[in-house]
């Protein structure tokens, strides 16, 4: 009989340190599509130019067995240095940034501005008929703000996807 822990899906935020080389992103993305794993978000950028290391943050979900598989599959990619399951390893900070364009005039425009203030979003572009807000926070916070903007003239959203790091003194490099 399958253990219920193996069938209940959970979310996982996984950090992967990789060689900064051509094709590495295709390898990671191809692994997820080829094996049918789910990707909620994926971000990548170099974090150590001297050592040619990039960091990929993947938010995924699956049963415990699937998540263990995902980590093992990532780890066996030749250019992968390290895989860390931030969700499993303890408290971590996860942040996402969004640029949100709202088009409107009159009361809607004022309401959008008031809400932006309440969410501590900053205005990074403004015209008579539009704003671009910049908002950083948890994905939930971004979702909530975007939902509020919808009736107020939401025109366009661009999100970075999640970056994450463990809390406390321990480092992924140690």
């Amino acid at each position: 009989m399958p253990d219920p822990a193996d069938t209940a899906p959970r979310a996982a935020t996984i950090a992967v340190l990789v060689e900064n080389e051509a094709g590495i992103l295709a390898r990671v993305v191809g692994l997820f599509s080829g094996r049918g794993y789910n990707i909620e978000s994926l971000t990548v950028a170099p974090v150590d130019e001297a050592k040619r290391i990039s960091r990929i943050t993947i938010v995924t979900s699956g049963t415990e067995m699937v998540i263990e598989q995902i980590k093992a599959q990532l780890d066996r990619l030749v250019p992968v240095h390290k895989v860390a399951d931030l969700t499993l390893e303890g408290p971590h900070v996860a942040r996402e940034m969004a640029l949100i364009k709202v088009v409107g005039r009159g009361e809607n425009r004022l309401e959008a501005l008031r809400l932006a203030d309440a969410f501590r979003a900053s205005v990074v572009d403004a015209t008579i008929g539009s704003f671009v807000f910049e908002l950083t926070g948890s994905s939930d916070k971004l979702d909530a703000f975007i939902a509020l903007m919808r009736p107020l003239g939401l025109a366009e959203v661009s999100r970075t996807g999640v970056v994450a790091i463990a809390r406390g003194p321990a480092s992924i490099h140690s």
Partner: protein, 598 residues
Amino acid sequence: MSATAPATAADARTMTGAEIVLRALKEQGVEVIFGYPGGAVLPLYDALFQQNAIRHVLVRHEQAAVHAAEGYARSTGKVGVVLVTSGPGATNAVTGLVDALMDSVPVVCLTGQVPTHLIGNDAFQEADTTGITRPATKHNYLVKDIRRLAATVHEAFYVAKSGRPGPVVIDLPKDILIGKGPYTDPPAEPHRSYRPQTEPDAEAIRRAVALLKRAERPVVYAGGGVVNSGPEASRLLTEFVRMTGMPCTTTLMALGAFPASDPQFLGMLGMHGLYEANLAMHGCDVMLNVGARFDDRVTGSLAHFSPGSRKIHADIDPSSINKNVKVDVAIVGDAARVLAALIEAWKADETPQDKAALTRWWRRIDEWRARDCLRYRQEGRIIKPQHAVKRLYEITRELGRDTIITTEVGQHQMWAAQFFGFERPNRWLTSGGLGTMGYGLPAAVGAQIAHPDALVIDIAGEASILMNIQEMGTLAQYRLPVKVFILNNEYMGMVRQWQELLHGGRYSESYSAALPDFVKLAESFHAVGLRAEAADDLDRVIREMLAVDRPVIADICVDKEENCFPMIPSGAPHNQMILGRDQEGGAAGVTDEGKVLV
């Protein structure tokens, strides 16, 4: 070329890219390459022409080049090397690469590429080889800087053979092959990020031994990883099984890792495995898996797989562990290292084994053995395919020659697995994971090149053999005395069997119509053609085939409608096996859930 490093002409280590490649191959111990030329790799062929250290074997199709390299690798434990041109050369190689990936065979495949400045322009014979082969390889490289060329070749060999072995592609643009650059030696540290664990964790070994010592109904389930690890692992497996008195079964990929003649050998397990092996797996209380991957051909229905057992799994690839079956003790490490550690820990652990329980367990196994699940009846003129393999086995054993068997894919492959006994590893070469029809003949080319004095036989089906039949030309050119032993049932027998059992006997497109005359076909390829049409011809044809020191095709006309049993239908549990026509079976019906499985 702008990519060329600024090196002085006096530097003896400055050479063309093609020369760098060959020098690096030589440094890696390469003696032979299987390949096929074309525009993009002409510089490499030119460099090959001007040296004698590395031999090139010209195949007739790039897929065959990879299978030949696999045959070479699997029969020697070395890395097999392939050289093909860009575009169609590379795409033709893809099936072979995936085959090597699925069966964990170390192969380095050099592919030509259009010059770097034309990449992405849809140039003549351009294909996105690294894109296409990314999911077909363990790793791949596109070399864009000649200064990285030698290091890339060295690294490719390290990646291909370490950890879980697999195929590696190096895509070589033509300007890199022509340009000049520095040759560099293999680095002291083989890789920055890839360092697989080979030494098992002592605590995991201790827990495994504690379980095994207390087992009342243990079974050892050994897989291809034991063969991958090298002959020492097979020796240690045999030692461990004998010292513990446990029964041992192997997968298709591990035939020969444990001696077939040993009384503790239960035979192959799985879909077409032996009754006793499958029932032992189903009924055991402790299972030790060494280097096998709980493949669906082996487990059948996962929900019903070995329901009462504690499972120990030793594998070099952590992703193989807990992938299909959740285990109680996970041991990451190389099979030989794991087995050596198990032997040591077994001796150190003073817990006495429950010998009485083990005796009872063997008594039950012997009852299952008494079913004689492979029994068949050879009566009358018509040759039973099982009988053909059995006689081939017995007659080759009489000869006492070192014998290597390759196979194609289908019923004949399963009969070969069931009726040919292997005492040593690296003598059984078959396509297990991908199940590639057309594997056997080119794999035999590779094996015969590696072992010129061995007897190499491809046990084939009449449909499969046509998939790489052009390699008869390679046999002729290099005078490779490979024997092609065709179990000709005039059907894609394995397909016909499923249609009979699962699709109401509607034999849709599974008849082998318009077959060539294999005797004449052999002759036109400068080989010897033989045919056995009746049971009385069989031994004579086998003996004649084995007596000639030339390539032979033996066309063995066998019973057209024989099925391969035992069979666990897809998705069924181990204890629901279909036995032969002559034997009252287990369950017959296949569920709809089972029908969707392949």
